[in-house]
Symmetry: C2
Subunit: 118 residues, 2 copies
Amino acid sequence: MNALLLIAHGSRIGASNDEVRTLAGRLREETLHKYDHVDCAFLELAEPSIPAAIEEAVAMGCERIRVLPYFLAAGNHVISDIPEIIAQKQVEHPGVKIDLRPYAGTAPGMVELLLSLL
Amino acid sequence: MNALLLIAHGSRIGASNDEVRTLAGRLREETLHKYDHVDCAFLELAEPSIPAAIEEAVAMGCERIRVLPYFLAAGNHVISDIPEIIAQKQVEHPGVKIDLRPYAGTAPGMVELLLSLL
């Protein structure tokens, strides 16, 4: 079984976190053929946490977990915090392949996406 | 004259801010026909600040300044901080039209952009 986790920063504003949940739901609909489980997780300020979401995916029997950081630039969260959490979970679950993907800001289509907002 | 300002959070990591500057440069190349001045500005931790970037555009003679928030979700920065800065600058420069666009996370193409990273 394959899982996809969309990782966001998390906000004190509930509606902001709900945006991420909605986006994860849209990703789920678009990847039904590829991922058995799609969810979001938050670095801080909202639930589930990244470790909790990984534990849930493992408990469901997922052997491959793709982690997609919903971040725009390579600040400390992207460079250090998220990789450290992933590395720790990988040590705890050596039989599971946890695959950290590039963060959203690296997507080649970002310029076109921004142009669509002008 | 028209200006476009890409507004990012700003980071203590210089390379992260440079990513935003590079992206603004790509936007500049793609919008030569539409904007006379394209730059980035940062809410905090990096230069130029949003007020400084607006002042520069005004000093160049820009009568219309489009502000595009490079943010993914509607947290406090998007809901309060940036609109307040823009509103203040609009009061200071009533002859300039400052147009705050939707933030990046609202772009309809976001799901496809994320799928491109998997």
